[in-house]
Amino acid sequence: MAKVLIPTPLRKFTNNASKVELEGDNVIEVLTSLTNNYPDLKPYLLDNDKVKPYIKLFKGEEDIESLDNEATRLESTDTLSIVPAIAGG
């Protein structure tokens, strides 16, 4: 279980939800819950259970790449931030 923060460009796939509480003990389980709830999001977020290269994930303020990548454990008090590349200026 964790709280997931959805960034603006992906909210069109989550009925505009910006925060979602989801089941799962680690990053990939939580993301699987997320894409089960919002199937249209999946092709933009995951590639064979790997996060797409234009998306960064943070557990709290830590990049999951510096932890255990997609296997990083999540507790119910954790927040997972999905951060996509944006380019506006």
Binding site: Y44, Y54, I55, F58, A87, G88, G89
Partner: protein, 384 residues
């Protein structure tokens, strides 16, 4: 050593009396050079504050002209500037703001051919561009040349800020844009401000933070956002400062700077590679105007969103693209139907769908959409 004149000492006195900043910090600003890429929403506050702060040399790169729709956020420009090259209008205003600054103007698009030549003359680059190809180009060129890249980026209510390729005390370099995002999103997933909109004050906030980072890097005062990513959601006022580290997936690194080659970034970001879609039957706006004048029996359908209809419309029946299938009974099959949107892409998609799956053969796309109508038939319509 760079010296400050009496007038400069007086002008910058509020910097000079900050104990950690002092005359030395101000001298460093004067002896530094900053290239601002993009003279738009981020560029406006960036340029104004860098000019005010006393950066010695400021370069401006942009190829665009000022448009009416820029004025909602690009506070460097006035209504009278509409139609003028942005860099020209910008530098005119900035020179009035501070006569002690040397400006260099590049009224051109930054490309793989000219980027190294332009960037090499500057200490710091501030990236305020509005598209992915230029973001990757600026990053790669900065890493290759060993330049610090002060980055900010915005979308609707959301902004990001970091300092990339920062030169640390031990001589090593901090993470760069590709440590964060090794490769770009597919075209269309993340719309530009022109397509997706942006709240006008957001670039003011992010561009000011970006100017602050440039000033910290140039003066050596404070702790720049090296290895950190700041995220701001102006809608919810949620702010986060996240840690960035170097990614093993990133091959564009300071350690391998010599091997970096600038590529075709448009192709890299998938621009121009889109699958060519089947052509559909279409009419131009003059023909539509004629059909209306002779009171021809036909149906006009507008497949845009209600918020677009509210900006301007030409009395078409509003059936947003996402509702077309549910409301298919409302689309005539026994007479000609003209389908339109903003520029003609969504309407062509709708026509392909209705022809391929529902057997329609009486549909015409309006070439150029409502924008063409506003340009050629009714100039009183608001363009957006």
């Amino acid at each position: 050593m760079t010296q400050l004149s009496k007038r400069e000492l007086e002008r910058y006195s509020r910097h000079l009396i900050i104990p950690q900043f002092g005359v030395e910090g101000q001298r460093r600003l004067k002896s530094s050079s900053v290239l601002v890429v993009g003279t738009g929403g981020l560029g406006a506050p960036l340029l104004q504050y860098l000019t005010a702060a006393g950066i010695g040399k400021i370069g401006l790169v942009d190829f665009d002209v000022v448009e009416e729709s820029n004025l909602q956020r690009q506070v460097l420009f006035t209504t009278e500037d509409v139609g003028r090259p942005k860099v020209e209008a910008a530098v005119e205003r900035l020179q009035l703001q501070n006569p002690h600054i040397e400006f260099e103007v590049y009224n051109t698009m930054l490309t793989s051919d000219n980027a190294l030549d332009i960037i090499k003359d500057y200490d710091i680059v501030a990236d305020g561009t509005d598209n992915f190809p230029t973001r990757y180009l600026v990053n790669d060129a900065c890493v290759k040349l060993g330049k610090i890249n002060v980055y900010a980026s915005i979308f609707r209510f959301e902004g990001q800020l970091s300092v990339f390729n920062f030169k640390r005390e031990d001589g090593s370099r901090g993470p760069n844009f590709r440590d964060m995002f090794p490769s770009p999103p597919p075209p269309g997933l993340v719309p530009s401000c022109a397509e997706g909109g942006v709240i006008g004050v957001l670039p003011g906030i992010l561009g000011s933070l970006q100017a602050n980072e440039v000033i910290k890097v140039a003066s050596g005062v404070g702790e720049p956002m090296d290895g950190r990513l700041f995220i701001f959601d102006a809608g919810s006022f949620e702010t986060r400062t996240l840690k960035l580290s170097k990614s093993p997936k990133n091959k564009i690194t300071a350690e391998r700077a010599d091997e970096i080659e600038l590529i075709d970034y448009d192709a890299y970001c998938g621009i121009g590679n889109e699958v060519k879609k089947r052509e559909v039957k279409s009419i131009d706006v003059e023909t539509l105007n004629k059909w209306l004048a002779i009171k021809k029996d036909f149906q006009l359908i507008d497949v845009r969103e209600p918020y677009e209809y509210e900006i301007s419309h030409i009395d078409g029946k509003l059936i947003p693209k996402s509702e077309v299938v549910q409301r298919i009974d409302e689309i005539a099959q026994d007479k000609d139907v003209v389908v339109h949107c903003r520029v003609g892409e969504r309407s062509a998609d709708v026509i392909r769908l209705l022809e391929d799956k529902y057997g329609y053969s009486n549909l015409y796309n309006l070439e150029g959409g409502i924008l063409a109508w506003a340009d050629k038939i009714d100039s009183s319509l608001a363009k957006y």
